[in-house]
């Protein structure tokens, strides 16, 4: 067992963990942060994406001990004072989710993408989300959600995703 101290969604935690424990399992099983999910075993799907010191990582690909002394933000730490993060808001506005299983990772990656490039082209969005799989949406409305969050879409009364 190894002692780690980690700040998750603004709260400080200190725990003994097995050296082999993955960050995603630490978040889910030890901290109850079950908003972050596991979708594959090969770090292909990106469903477990969180921010480690402000940058996106696949938390199935990081050991809990690697998060020692660092700060983690999960999907559960995005909204503040009941206000959704603009990217969360854009996902619901543009119907960028259906079953919602990829959504936590997709939102975390989209935020990272927009942090790096606040005005991405459609191509840059598609490449920026390449490490996150979605089986429901065909990505069309996820791309629109990122564009919406970047302020690139014209306001429309009906959501206009049927285009």
């Amino acid at each position: 067992m190894t002692r780690i101290s980690v700040n998750v969604d603004g709260t400080a935690y200190s725990d003994d963990v097995e050296p082999r424990m993955l960050l995603v399992h630490y978040l889910r099983e030890r901290l109850g942060k079950v908003g972050t999910v596991v979708g594959c075993d090969t770090s292909n799907c990106g469903a477990c994406t969180v921010h480690l010191d402000g940058k996106s990582v696949k938390s199935c690909n990081v050991l809990a001990v690697q998060a020692d002394g660092r700060s983690v933000t999960t999907i559960e730490g995005l909204a503040s004072n009941g206000q959704l993060h603009p990217v969360q808001q854009a996902f619901t506005e543009c119907h960028g989710l259906q079953c919602g299983f990829c959504t936590p990772g997709m939102i975390m990656q989209s935020i990272d993408l927009l942090n790096d490039n606040p005005q991405p082209s459609e191509e840059a969005i598609r490449h920026g989300l390449e490490g996150n799989l979605c089986r429901c949406t065909g990505y069309h409305n996820i791309v629109r959600a990122v564009q919406e969050a970047a302020g690139q879409l014209q306001p429309s009364s009906d959501g206009g995703s049927a285009s």
């Binding site: 097995e18 292909n44 999907i75 559960e76 619901t92 119907h95 799989l133 429901c136 065909g138 049927a162």
Partner: protein, 822 residues
């Protein structure tokens, strides 16, 4: 009188792009996935799975596993043989069907690589997995039936005790059933005086690949077994668990909490669910099993996997006169819940939107020693649509005509509805002309054809192809009497209840079980219009057999057309019950009341009460008319008379790099007629997602086995789901011919995109390079295959050659420290 007609000043909810109610929990991480559930004292399972496709189990040594830290039990098939129940096939397609017994855990023999041979129960999932590594199974390998066509010849038997791999033969013949002429006559006539197109198409094996791995929690404490499971079918699963384990149905509470996608892949009762139940029952403790992705890919059922032999007869002018279909369908090693019924669903769809006189559909489902195959988005209908839409393009080439022109020459005209097809199915409504005209306009069809010609003339190394797919499908499974005639083991009705709460809130209970479709939003819109209560006041409850005790669940694009019709009928009953109470409250005659915008009012006066006020009056029941029960709550069960038939025209432009074989989508237009649209936002999402799954079949996905029967596409590294960077944005629109089979006029949209897009894309790819001598490419049209097809004028080669064994000692990518092959 209907509730929605007299509305004034209120925005109709049906047709509005409401943002989904479901989203709030999903975007904030407050979702209730099965794997999130933790109960006091909960134990965890790990499965030991067979590495062999076909083998006898000689012995299983569990001593080391049992001695591992925090292991509570290790179970083998032999120990639980009498109590584990069976996994059922609900649709034996003939009464003589040969169905192999399917124990949840193998007892003596394993029949595919990935089958469960032992279960380890431990205090943590990690400890269970560690101990599973210590279970030592001694196998005697047996010859495995792997190739579908060879298996159909019974050279090697997947289940030697059955004596054959062919589970049944199922035929629909238009002459025999009186819905048309003799197909052999039509083909003979075409051979003499017309055109005969003969083709063989391969529907490769796919994996549904829902994003949430399957998970089951069983809690045996208390009076009932409470089961949470990532399933599409909590009601059917409850019934089958009771029926196959002898547990009283009333002692089982089945809950599908938030479920992360299904696409047919969670339309199954699984060995993993049954074994989790068994472990919980034996140990008297809550037990959880969550599969890894690798386990999901190898043990969750697969989809498609057919060889299709097709003979199309037409006149010299291009009028289709007959179609003969011979299908071999790979079932894998067990017959799943729908099983042979999946390819059989294609029987009514190969004739598609076309009018012709003679038709024969022959289907032989075949057992092999591979993962079982069952419903995957579209289930039987994508396969059929692919075949006919590829054939129509081939016919157009034979005639030297535009593929749309040939389709138009053969399709049912809009004034001919209702139309009974050569397969005997009556289509209620449709307008193929309108959808096609709109699609051509959005696509810029003539301009793209001109560009195609230009690039062809110039010898552009990147060629443009245009693919057409004019499809229909049968949705709304299904009229119970039809299912009965087909030997299906259940009905096709759906159930709903509406509870009017004292405070004016409304609970809508549906037997449909959503897993991403947005029922909570759509059902709220429907009830808001029907009862005239605010959208926000409605709560939709589903997926828990204790709350929604009757249901047939969600698959086959049935929820809206069948399930929502039950909701409408329950709402109408609420109003019927409210009316006498309202009349009493208003001191008026019922005959003088009218209802609109949620309010009963006395005609010609400003006196009125809302249905929510009536609900309060019914609740306190202080002053009700004589003999009226103090409740507005109502139930309804709807059994459809027939199916619904969405249709659409999809056009795809694809660019093919003739030097590399790379296919790039340029433009995709889908104009679907799905009847009346309840929520255009949700509909668009269903279409987009469906399109990409169908496009993925055309271009990328295939479950590949090596010659030992090992699934070599056993992770997301090898089973290539498309990413955002692989696809484009789509242009979609709708025409609307309301269905006549339900009150709302809806037709279903869940599968449309997947059914239509596969042939549209392959037609586009072939169209781009047909002038180079290519008339077909085996799916998926990978760059390698396309390149080879161009070089050789071939179909680009099969898959077996492409499967690279992962574990051969002489193969690359071996771990040098592992000390040789496993």
């Amino acid at each position: 009188m209907t509730a929605v007609e007299s509305g004034t000043g209120t925005q109709r909810e049906i047709g509005a792009a409401r943002r989904r109610k479901e989203d709030q929990r999903l975007i904030t991480g407050r979702t209730r996935w099965t794997d999130n559930i933790q109960l006091p004292g909960m134990l965890h399972l790990a499965m030991v799975r067979s590495p062999f496709a076909h083998a006898m189990i000689r012995s299983i040594d569990t001593d080391a596993a049992k001695a591992a830290p925090n292991v509570v039990a290790v179970l083998t098939g032999r120990e639980v043989a009498d109590e584990q129940g069976v996994i059922a096939n609900a649709w034996p397609i003939t009464t003589e069907q040969k169905t192999p017994a399917h124990p949840p855990m193998a007892v003596d023999r394993v029949t595919f690589a990935g089958e469960i041979v032992a279960v380890v129960v431990a205090r943590s999932a990690a400890e269970a997995r560690d101990a599973a590594e210590l279970v030592d199974v001694d196998y005697t390998e047996m010859p495995a039936a792997l190739d579908l066509r060879e298996a159909a010849e019974d050279k090697v038997l997947a289940h030697p005790d059955l004596g054959t791999n062919k589970i049944a033969f199922w035929q629909l013949d238009s002459a025999a059933q009186g819905s048309g002429g003799s197909v052999d006559d039509a083909i003979a006539e075409a051979r003499a005086n017309g055109i005969v197109i003969e083709r063989e198409y391969r529907q490769q094996r796919l994996i549904p690949a829902f994003l949430e791995p399957r998970s089951t929690v069983v809690d045996p404490t208390g009076e009932q077994y409470t089961i949470w499971s990532a399933t599409q079918i909590p009601h059917i699963a409850r019934f089958l668990l009771a029926a196959t384990t002898g547990t009283p149905e009333s002692k089982i509470r089945y809950i599908a909490p938030d479920v992360g996608g299904g696409f047919g892949g969670k339309l199954q009762t699984t060995p993993e669910e049954w074994l989790t139940f068994l472990a919980a029952k034996r140990l008297g403790k809550p037990v959880k099993y969550t599969e890894t992705r690798s386990e999901s890919l190898v043990s969750g059922h697969h989809g498609r996997d057919q060889w299709q032999k097709l003979t199309l007869a037409a006149t010299k002018e291009g009028k289709v006169t007959g179609l003969k279909v011979d299908l071999l369908a790979d079932m894998g090693s067990y017959v799943g819940i729908v099983g042979g019924g999946v390819p059989v669903l294609g029987a009514w769809m190969f004739n598609a939107i076309y009018k012709f006189d003679a038709y024969q559909f022959n289907c032989t489902p075949v057992l092999t020693n591979k993962t079982w195959v069952d419903a995957y988005r579209g289930a039987g209908r994508p396969e059929a649509t692919y075949a006919i839409e590829r054939l129509m393009d081939e016919l157009a080439v034979e005639l030297g005509k535009d593929p749309i022109e040939v389709r138009e020459m053969n399709w049912i005209k809009h004034e001919e509805f209702p139309f009974t097809t050569v397969a005997g199915m009556t289509y209620d409504s449709g307008n193929y002309e309108a959808a096609t005209a709109r699609a051509k306009e959005l696509f810029g069809y003539d301009e793209l054809r001109a560009e195609q010609k230009r690039r062809r003339d110039e010898g552009d190394p990147v060629q443009l192809g245009i693919g057409v797919s004019t499809f229909t499908e049968m949705c709304g499974l299904a009229p119970s009497r039809v299912l009965g005639q087909l030997n299906y083991g259940a009905g096709g009705w759906e159930s709903a209840s509406i509870r009017m709460l004292a405070t004016g809130k409304v609970e809508v209970i549906t037997g449909a079980s959503a897993h991403g479709q947005g029922h909570e939003t759509a059902w709220s819109q429907i009830v808001a219009d029907r009862l005239g209560v605010p959208f926000e006041d409605i709560e939709v409850l589903h997926g828990d057999t204790q709350i929604s005790h009757r249901g047939m669940d969600t698959y086959g694009s049935r929820s809206l057309v069948v399930g929502a019709e039950a909701v409408v009928r329950a709402a109408d009953k609420v109003l019927d019950k409210a009316k006498p109470i309202a009349a009493h409250m208003l001191e008026a005659s019922e005959d003088d009341l009218e209802f609109g915008d949620g309010r009963f009012s006395v005609r010609g006066t400003d006196k009125g009460v809302t249905v929510q006020e009536v609900a309060m009056a019914a609740w306190h029941a202080h002053d009700l008319p004589e003999g009226v029960e103090p409740s507005l709550d109502s139930d309804a069960t709807f059994d459809p008379d027939t199916f619904s038939f969405p249709h659409g025209t999809h056009l795809c432009a694809a660019e093919v790099d003739t030097e590399t074989g790379q296919v790039k989508l340029r433009k995709y237009v889908a104009v679907d007629d799905i009847g009346v649209i309840v929520n255009p936002l949700i509909v668009a999402g269903q279409v987009h997602g469906g399109l990409v799954q169908g496009i993925a079949q055309a271009l990328w996905e295939e479950a590949v086995y090596d010659d030992a029967g090992t699934l070599v596409t056993g992770s997301f590294v090898d089973y290539t789901l498309p990413t955002a960077a692989d696809v484009i944005s789509f242009d979609i629109d709708h025409t609307e011919s309301p269905s006549t089979t339900n009150t709302l006029g809806t037709k279903g949209v869940g599968e449309a995109g997947t059914i239509a897009s596969t042939p549209a894309v392959v037609n586009a790819v072939v169209d781009a390079i047909r002038h180079l001598g290519v008339s077909d490419i085996t799916m998926p049209c990978t760059p390698q295959r396309v390149w080879r097809a161009i070089r050789e004028g071939s179909r680009g080669g099969g898959t077996p050659d492409a499967a690279q064994p992962h574990f051969g000692a002489d193969q690359p990518n071996q771990d040098p420290t592992a000390g040789g092959a496993q």
